[in-house]
Symmetry: C2
Subunit: 379 residues, 2 copies
């Protein structure tokens, strides 16, 4: 991770549960071998698997000193709190890690390297602070350039935040590769970046350039890929994060959407004291397809259902119910693998390839987009 | 402006036309008395009115030295280029102004006060640099709190960027005040901020907090107002700026929309080398109402048509055609005043007041939003 293999301590103090420690769980799931310990004094003595069902025997410890016994060399902040601030109680832990010469990996909105006290500590001990949410210096404005790539772009969209868009994307990419498809993952959030070692936290980019950064990532990823899977952000019905959701969508110009939902969730929690009803999934899907079509039409091809809260039978029943309601393949990619989603994406990709072979794909583009500027059509 | 009355020189070098100098034209229109000169060497010797139809006899001059003869004490950058950089040729002009001890007002995405060379010059000469696009330090996340204000929120939306959303908003506020309605203006872009002396450039806010900043502004403005008019940003069909458009919409939670369009524009210019067809206005309207309804339903009540390119008869005909197509009142508020738009907004406001008196408006809220959380309903 970030230049070299690491011995990570994941900080998840008072929060090491599947719901509250999204970043820690993601890193545990996909970079298991680099995690040496998890810090949560409330759960010290347990294993990661016992707390969050992933990470096997990785020990949960009470603090930095205990983590040091496991040979850690890097502290990774394993939460993504609303607002993005460093919880005050965690500051001491970060200082302790820096004092030991550990590097820090943070996905907070507040940049730790810009904190004079922490920066001084880091300089003194030779530590590095990686603020993975810090936006790139450029100011790209999206202009649907992602429409022109040869690869098929797939976007995961969500009924809410924290429903499993990143996980569905990663599982889909792995399954596509397993079938011999050259697939790539575009990370758009802090956890995805920590896992993939590349990407941009779109929610931290100035609003004018959020879509432009996604476009840049997709165009770059498409160079070596047949399918590009873009991690969606936010949700169109979330009053705080709908703008990010739309920016990712219009920057990526997907042709296929995978709808992600947390089974049983009926309310959108928009603040500590405000939640609102979640519309029916059919409405979420329709809204996403309408919004996509403002720039480029896209079809929802599958549903990834997060059934973490359910037993096996209830999870199956939930998938069946959603499948009937939306007439789409449904799976929980973590529980049962991404095969149904992958089938759907591969089928869309095959249809598209046949159509492009038949029509010549530039012709298709011109026909659909009658008024396109001459420069585009002649390209 | 910005703390005291000023003698402004508006920098619009090579660009002093209604299309290219949006910021300069806005400031000239609404803060005429503070503008002492416009700098554009290509048009030196002309008056502002001759170049952009506003600003009367304000002289256009060739450079800083000529502007100084008119007693200027502040240089305002009068363009808003895509990407937000300082055009290299303008840097020398900014330096010259700083050397004379003038203040600088800039709406660029790049912050001039952060440029070590410019900052040093400013310190030496006692000048101040106002980067009006610099976002506030807070990190507010929108949670449709703007739904709870007593004032009616009106949002101007656009078929494209630079079609007249800010101007329509300002004209509407003035006309509402003329009718005795306590109306306030929420500035969301750099020009609006320069004119109103408050507001936030939403396009420069980190995407996660863009809607939250709008919400904060609307809630504050609503305290002393019966109608809050929010300047919209971007356009839902613009691949680069759709995210900002939606963030402003979902932060503001408007009940009424005023659709703004540049008469005759049929293409959305999304980059120097890319433009795309603009959908019919009826589709733009439908998209906006769909998007609003994801958080709070809103009705389009009027259309502001920018008829700058047309003669009087053609302008009338354009308004009539749009009025027939959308079955809405239409006017060019700059050409003929905002009366038709104001009538429509006042009518919506009266309907709303009656309905709230009849039903009790909390009841209305609960009925519409069946699943609202208990905390909200009991408030």
């Amino acid at each position: 991770m970030l230049g070299r293999p690491r011995r990570l301590a994941l900080l998840a103090e008072q929060s090491f549960s599947p719901r509250d420690a999204k970043t820690a769980v993601g890193v545990l799931r996909y970079r298991t071998d680099e995690v040496a310990a998890v810090i949560d004094s409330a759960r010290a003595g347990a294993t990661a698997a016992a707390c969050v069902s992933v990470g096997g025997n990785v020990p949960v410890v009470a603090g930095i000193e205990a983590a040091a016994l496991h040979g850690c060399d890097t502290l990774l902040l394993g939460i993504a709190p609303q607002g993005g601030e460093l919880p005050p109680s965690w500051r001491a832990v970060v200082c302790e890690a820096l004092a030991r010469g550990w590097d820090i990996v943070s996905g907070l909105h507040v940049f730790l390297a810009d904190d004079p006290g922490l920066a001084l500590l880091a300089r003194t001990s030779g530590s590095r602070i990686f603020d993975v949410r810090r936006p790139p210096a450029g100011r790209p404005v999206a202009a649907r350039r992602a429409m022109d790539v040869d690869a098929m772009v797939v976007l995961t969209i969500g009924s809410d935040c924290n429903v499993g868009k990143m996980t569905a994307s990663l599982e889909l990419v792995e399954a596509l590769r397993g079938r011999g498809v050259r697939a790539s993952f575009v990370a758009t959030g802090q956890t995805g970046i920590m896992i993939a070692d590349h990407g941009v936290a779109i929610d931290a980019v100035a609003a004018d350039f959020a879509a432009g950064e996604v476009e840049r990532l997709v165009v770059a990823a498409a160079r070596d890929s047949e399918v590009v899977v873009v991690e969606g952000q936010g949700a169109l019905h979330h009053p705080g994060y709908s703008g990010v959701a739309l920016a990712v969508m219009h920057g990526a110009c997907p042709e296929a959407l995978v709808l992600c939902h947390w089974a049983g969730r009926t309310r959108l929690r928009v603040a500590d004291d405000v939640d609102v009803p979640l519309p029916p999934l059919a409405e979420v899907r329709a809204a996403a397809e309408q919004a996509a079509a403002w720039v480029r039409p896209a079809a929802t091809v599958a549903v990834a259902l997060n059934t973490l809260d359910l037993g096996e039978a209830a999870a199956r029943a939930a998938c069946d119910a959603v499948g009937r309601e939306l007439q789409l393949p449904v799976s929980d990619p973590v529980r049962w693998g991404a095969a149904p989603l992958t089938d759907a994406v591969v089928a869309a990709w095959e249809r598209r390839r046949q159509q492009r072979t038949t029509d010549g794909w530039r012709t298709t583009l011109i026909a659909r987009d009658e008024g396109s500027s001459p420069e585009r059509n002649m390209a």
